[in-house]
């Protein structure tokens, strides 16, 4: 029991901090300054606790096999906590600029991360569901956080309605799988599935519904229709957080679920389904992004494409695919978050300065921000020696290894398409002059500078020395 609690330390610690943080919200007047620091401390503790798990704790399951602890969960704990820290640090100056630094923001972010942790730790479908709901509800609120902005409110409502719908699919799928296998726990389900379920049709429909529900959460085609509006309407820091840590969490739940549901007699069918979703997401996301004039929308569409890339990792069903996916999620977290931080810094109080034309000649009046943005964009394009390149290389490698060369070719083709719009922004920033009568905005970087520093260093480090992360993942994989 003690070792069980020790290995669950990150989770328990985290929930202690989030719940107490909401208590403080209620007790202290003007609690935001306190909860800001408090949540940062909490997240830092989670990182430390997670890193200690391999030393003190043990891997395995806990709480009647509901919760799982192992190498991958440690990895995701750290990833989510890092994403949270970077978001919170950036959020403060952003919200102050927007005049919307209300007390509960940091607590909401904390709860969202709590949901993510549950998703990554789940060993039981109900836990997945609870985690997803906790995270999503926080996201609904966060998306509509700027409540005087109609775009923000629209984003929240749209996200909420469609999200609730998707959750319905997910629960339905889980119920059918329970019907087909008699359990919702990963171990027993896997045992039944791999032997060929008693009710193959029921199982197959169940898997299909789960794929639908989770594809919605990771923002894959054709369940993406909420993405552009939500990503555009939500405050930039929130979008950055949702599209990186949120996506990573959804994949952290997606992968183990598919790992138990795929290897049955219908393996090929499920793989094909996922491969088609991946291919369609990559192509659709990148092609649609070509026509966008709003930077946030453009990155929203591109995030659909990235969901497709990441899904390749699930399709392969191999260890390589899994670690490639995990690497990609880390790389994506840093590059996408970095890009959104810059968007947030440049955005003005009315939510303007987000169109491509506004970025014309940015290199003239904001050389540093433009250079960093270019780095993030090149990384998203997948140009060495940046993180995005190695992430793609690794994924394509896994796909070729698993015999999905065609998927690699689709991935490459869509990457070529993506070059055009990512470069389009670079063209605006560097090759064009600002429009006439353009007044350079007052830009305050503040604490967001820390985030930018961390993300930039990470983007270079992950690209130049990917072995570093790999040795970590390899070491953690031993834990399993």
């Amino acid at each position: 029991m003690t070792s069980e609690l020790l290995s669950l330390a990150p989770l328990l610690l985290f929930w202690f901090f989030s719940i107490s943080s909401s208590v403080f919200d209620a007790l202290i007047k003007e609690s935001r300054r306190f909860t800001f620091g408090y949540s940062l401390v909490g997240l830092a503790m989670v990182v430390i606790a997670a890193l200690c798990v391999p030393i003190f704790g043990h891997s395995g399951t806990a709480f009647n096999d509901m919760i799982r602890v192992g190498g991958t969960t440690v990895y995701f704990d750290v990833l989510f906590a890092l994403g949270g820290i970077l978001t919170i640090v950036t959020a403060r100056p952003y919200l102050q600029k927007m005049n919307y630094e209300l007390d509960e923001f940091y607590t909401l972010v904390m709860y969202a991360i709590g949901g993510m942790l549950l998703m990554a730790h789940s060993n039981h479908m109900v836990v997945v569901f609870i985690g997803i709901e906790i995270m999503s509800i926080c996201f609904y609120v966060l998306a509509g956080y700027i409540r005087t902005s109609s775009l923000s409110v629209e984003a929240a409502l749209k996200y909420f309605l469609l999200g609730a719908f998707a959750s319905g699919f997910l629960v339905y799928g889980m119920a059918l799988i329970y019907g087909a296998t008699g359990s919702m726990e990963y171990g027993p389900v896997a045992a039944v599935v791999s032997q060929g379920s008693e009710f193959p049709t029921l199982l197959l429909v169940g898997i299909g519904l789960i794929v639908v529900g989770l594809s919605f959460k990771v923002a894959a085609f054709p369940f993406h229709s909420w993405v552009p509006d939500v990503y555009q309407g939500a405050p930039s820091v929130v979008t950055g957080f949702m599209s990186t840590a949120g996506k990573a969490a959804a994949f952290a739940a997606f992968l183990p679920l598919m790992m138990i549901l795929m290897p049955g007699p219908d393996m090929e069918r499920v793989q094909t389904l996922l491969a088609v979703i991946a291919a369609a997401s990559m192509l659709y996301g990148n092609i649609s992004a070509l026509r966008q004039n709003n930077v946030k929308r453009m990155l929203a569409y591109s995030s659909i494409a990235h969901a497709g890339y990441i899904m390749i990792g699930i399709v392969t069903g191999t260890d390589f695919g899994e670690s490639a996916m995990m690497f990609y999620l880390a790389a994506y977290l840093f590059m996408q978050l970095g890009a959104f931080v810059i968007i947030g810094i440049l955005e003005n109080r009315e939510g303007g300065f987000v169109s491509l034309d506004d970025y014309a000649g940015l290199a003239k009046h904001q050389p540093t921000l433009a250079a960093l943005m270019a780095v993030f964009l090149f990384s998203l394009t997948g140009i060495p020696p940046l993180a995005g390149f190695f992430a793609k290389y690794y994924l394509f490698y896994a796909a070729v290894e698993a015999g999905f060369t065609w998927l690699t070719i689709v991935g490459v083709a869509s990457s070529i398409i993506s070059v055009y719009f990512y470069l389009g922004l670079v063209v605006q920033m560097y090759f064009r002059e600002p429009a006439e009568g353009f007044v350079a905005p007052q830009v305050k970087t503040g604490m967001a500078g820390i985030t930018l520093l961390v993300t930039t260093v990470a983007v270079f480090l992950l690209g130049l020395y990917p072995a570093m992360v790999q040795s970590v993942t390899d070491a953690l994989a031993m834990l399993r």
Binding site: F378, I383, P384, P385, F389, Y393, Y394, F396, Y397, V400, E401, G403, T405, T408, I409, V412, S415, I416, V419, Y420, L423, V427, Y430, F431, R432, Y465, P466, A467, Q470, D474
Partner: protein, 521 residues
């Protein structure tokens, strides 16, 4: 280890430039120039210490990098690579010098980009690891994109994006090929490697059908860079829009990355597939030679004319490579150097004229010789070197490639390749002489040409050393041919052994039947 400073000094230069204040333009220029000259000296040391007799890679460095993918920091140079590295280090100081007067905005970013460009180009020539090769290959893209896009002419945005998309298209296909190839690194199956030295040995044992696909993926990527007809359309745009230094580097070094890749990967790794596609590649090369020349003939813009002449001249190189003979390959290597020098000079001359008159139309000039006699001599040397006049460098390369193609068993001894390609030499004489005639001779019709000033000292520093090299290669080609001799002979020997009638041919056939089933990734 002698190659490390050659590779890393430009990178160091880029880093050093970042610490120079961006208003201190003079300091920026000097830092860039000093680093490029230091690199030249470092490369000269490596060049002089190079062992001619050996065809193997020298100065090997092998550091582990990403163990799980067996990708390492592996560099080294054989006779072919060292010549091209020398070309790079010679061209770069010249390109930097010519930028002093022509680049007048964001100087700091500009010279950082030039340094990064040199870093990437040297890296491509030296990389002995497919992963590292790809990284360098892509690293080149970004600085060149910025150089065209920020400091280019009127239509620069279009040209830069076109350049980027074309190259990216090719290189991503190459990426798939690199991964696919890596899985063949262990003939028993299962292993993955990015080590080019291993892949060189196992390459020929890859089943023929796989080889063909891999060949096509690599060849497409390299053919875009060369550029081989019909993938050349980005080149005239990029050349015309790029600033002078950009054009010089583009023509001087960047195009050679493509032909170098064709030798290093296509020919060396997939000899059987190369044999299979030799005819097709040579046909495209010859079409390129003639097409480039014909299009150059009707150009009124000098820079465009030189750009199309590049398409024509690069065709000779590809022809030489896929003739798969020692003469052809030697010719291809020396022609890469020659083209770098002579076309680089031509672009410098065009740049010098443009800076004085801000036009590149031939008809705006005429009678320039009377005002710029010294410039006229150098321009003439560059032009004649490009034409292929005996005694100058172009002749050696073109002669050898044509000779190689004439005797080539890979082309079934078909003489028509040589016949048609040789007509390209004649056409080159026509359009280049016509251009030179139109610009330099005749009466001065345009009064603006009255006040032209002759070559400045800076221009002389750029052009005279290159002209001297043109003479050197033209008169004593063996100084340079000796370097690549052992490597090319070794390569041709290897390639021939896997062709019908060669010693490795039967062995390969037996191997591919056993490996064919398990190797099918």
């Amino acid at each position: 280890m002698a190659l490390l400073p050659v590779l890393l000094l430009p990178l160091l230069g880029a880093v050093a430039l970042m610490f120079v204040d961006r208003t201190a333009v003079k300091g920026i220029k000097m830092t860039a120039l000093i680093f490029s000259i230091l690199t030249f000296i470092a490369s000269l040391a490596a060049f002089l210490g190079f062992d001619h007799g050996s065809g193997d890679f020298q100065y090997l460095v092998d550091w582990t990098w990403i163990t799980s993918l067996d990708a390492g920091f592996r560099i080294g140079a054989d006779g072919m690579a060292i010549l091209l590295v020398m070309l790079t280090t010679v061209i770069m100081p010249v390109a930097i010098l010519t930028s002093f007067s022509s680049i007048k905005k964001s100087e700091k970013l500009y010279y950082v980009m030039l340094m990064l460009l040199q870093f990437g180009m040297t890296g491509v020539f030296l990389a002995l690891d497919t992963f590292l090769f790809y990284v360098f290959w892509e690293v080149i893209l970004i600085p060149m994109y910025f150089i065209i896009g920020i400091w280019g002419g009127q239509n620069r945005i279009y040209a830069s994006i076109k350049f980027f998309l074309y190259t990216m298209f090719g290189s991503l296909l190459m990426l798939i090929a690199i991964i696919w190839l890596g899985f063949h690194g262990d003939p028993s199956g299962g292993g993955f490697t990015a080590n080019l030295l291993t892949l060189r040995d196992v390459g020929p044992s890859i089943p023929m059908e796989t080889q063909q696909w891999l060949f096509l993926a690599f060849a497409l990527s390299f053919a875009i860079k060369v550029p081989l007809f019909p993938l050349h359309t980005w080149l005239p745009d990029a050349h015309v829009q790029a600033p002078t230094a950009g054009s010089v580097i583009l023509a001087g070094v960047l195009l050679k990355l493509g032909t170098y890749g064709l030798i290093r990967f296509n020919l060396e790794l997939f000899p059987q597939a190369s044999y299979y596609f030799a005819d097709a590649m040579c046909v495209l090369a010859v079409i390129g030679v003639i097409y480039g020349a014909l299009v150059a003939m009707v150009q009124t813009d000098i820079k465009k004319l030189v750009a199309y002449s590049s398409v024509s001249h690069m065709g000779f190189i590809v022809l030489g490579i896929f003739s798969m003979t020692t003469a052809g390959l030697q010719g291809a290597i020396i022609q890469m150097v020659n083209h770098g020098l002579s076309t680089g000079m031509l672009f410098l001359c065009v740049g010098a004229l443009y800076e004085r008159r801000h036009t590149r139309e031939i008809e705006d000039y005429g009678g320039v010789m009377a005002r710029m006699p010294r410039f006229g001599v150098i321009f003439g040397i560059a032009m004649l070197a490009s034409v292929g006049l005996p005694g100058l460098n172009g002749f050696v390369g073109e002669f050898l490639t044509l000779l190689g193609a004439y005797n080539a068993p890979a082309l079934d001894g078909n003489v028509w390749y040589t016949v048609f390609a040789a007509s390209g030499v004649i056409l080159a004489a026509v359009y280049l002489l016509k251009m030179y005639n139109g610009v330099m001779f005749g009466p001065i019709n345009n009064t603006k040409n009255e006040s032209l000033t002759d070559m400045t000292r800076s221009e002389a520093w750029q052009l005279v050393p290159l002209a001297a090299l043109c003479f050197w290669i033209g008169l004593f080609p063996n100084t340079f041919l000796d370097y690549s001799k052992a490597s090319t002979e070794q390569l041709v020997e290897k390639v021939e052994s896997f062709l019908p009638g060669g010693s490795g041919y039967a062995m390969e056939a037996a191997e591919s039947t056993t490996a064919g089933t398990s190797d099918d990734h």
